[in-house]
């Protein structure tokens, strides 16, 4: 499948931006999104090819605008919904509940 992810040879992205002494993660949520994705992968509901496909099978603009771990999060949410494990509605409801708790 072609798509925004298939960017080998594409012009216009500018120079490589190298961060000196880069940390492995740039926010706590990146740690948790990484670990949840790896841990859920170990359940065997899907394999690496399926999870890659879910990250990439989307509108090109959304793919390009997302940061790396936002793409992981997007793919994980699609996989969870398709496997009847967690729905997007459940996530939205839990977000509202957590936001209210915190206010």
């Amino acid at each position: 499948m072609n798509g925004a992810h298939d960017m080998g040879g594409m012009d216009g992205f500018g120079p490589v931006e190298i961060e000196k002494n880069e940390p492995l993660f740039h926010a706590e949520w990146e740690r948790r999104a990484f670990a949840m994705t790896v841990a859920m992968g170990a359940h065997g509901h899907w394999n690496i090819d399926v999870s890659r496909f879910m990250r990439e099978n989307r509108d090109p603009l959304g793919y390009l605008e997302d940061s790396y771990y936002e793409r992981w999060l997007y793919g994980l949410e699609v996989l969870l919904e398709r496997n009847d494990l967690v729905t997007r509605d459940e996530i939205a409801a839990r977000m509202r509940a957590l936001a209210e708790d915190g206010s």
Binding site: E17, E22, R32, I91
Partner: protein, 210 residues
């Protein structure tokens, strides 16, 4: 973190991740302690020091180098470096004639067992797009210039096959043991976006860090 603006503020993503974790925990699908172990593994245990040990041995032990070039997965497993995202390893050797660089144009495939998790630039669009088209210009972004007659080879990783570059052993390192050699092996030298440090450069870096 990202070079793009987002339609949703970062706090929203953080909240979303928190909501998702609480649901997965509630449903018994993940254990928060297991997530902590995974994070600790990649932040503190698995990283480029693994790959540096492999390279240092290949420089020191000709028989090991033969095994590494012949079957990198098995040779790397001699160190106990096995598992996720390193199941099918291939080693490619830099020489005076050939310089190898590794990319994943489609995604972020990277040899986790020997290098840990990739840096942001490896996963970002400019490197993925450009290195297959203009490897020398990309090398220049990293401050590296090679003679014109050196052949550039760029390896595009897949979900299965992951590459480890065996950098050239630097001049002045002839008398060093494996541990000292490993200190010369940078992460970027094993991706091909850098060279191994000379002993003098390694000393200067250590002093600068102190």
């Amino acid at each position: 973190m990202s070079q793009h603006d987002h339609s949703t503020p970062p706090s929203d993503t953080a909240l979303r991740v928190k909501a998702l974790e609480s649901l997965l925990v509630e449903k018994g699908l993940v254990d928060p302690a297991a997530l902590d172990v995974l994070i600790d593994t990649y932040e503190n245990k698995v990283g480029p020091r693994n790959g540096a040990a492999v390279v240092a041995r290949a420089w020191s032990d000709p028989a090991y180098k033969v095994r590494l070039m012949d079957d990198a997965t098995a040779a790397i497993a001699e160190f106990g470096y096995t598992g996720r995202q390193g199941e099918h390893m291939v080693a490619v050797e830099n020489t005076a004639q050939v310089h190898n660089m590794v990319v994943c144009t489609l995604c972020s495939c990277y040899p986790w067992t020997v290098l840990g998790l990739p840096p942001v630039w490896y996963k970002a669009s400019p490197y993925r797009a450009r290195v297959v088209k203009e490897p020398r210009a990309v090398l220049a972004d990293f401050g590296v210039t090679l003679p014109e007659d050196v052949e550039m080879r760029v390896w595009d990783s897949t979900a299965e096959i992951r590459y480890l570059v065996l950098p050239r052993r630097p001049e002045g390192s002839e008398d060093l043991g494996e541990a000292e050699l490993a200190a010369l092996v940078t992460r970027d030298s094993m991706i091909g976006t850098g060279l191994a440090l000379t002993p003098g450069a390694a000393r200067a870096e250590t002093e600068a860090a102190e």
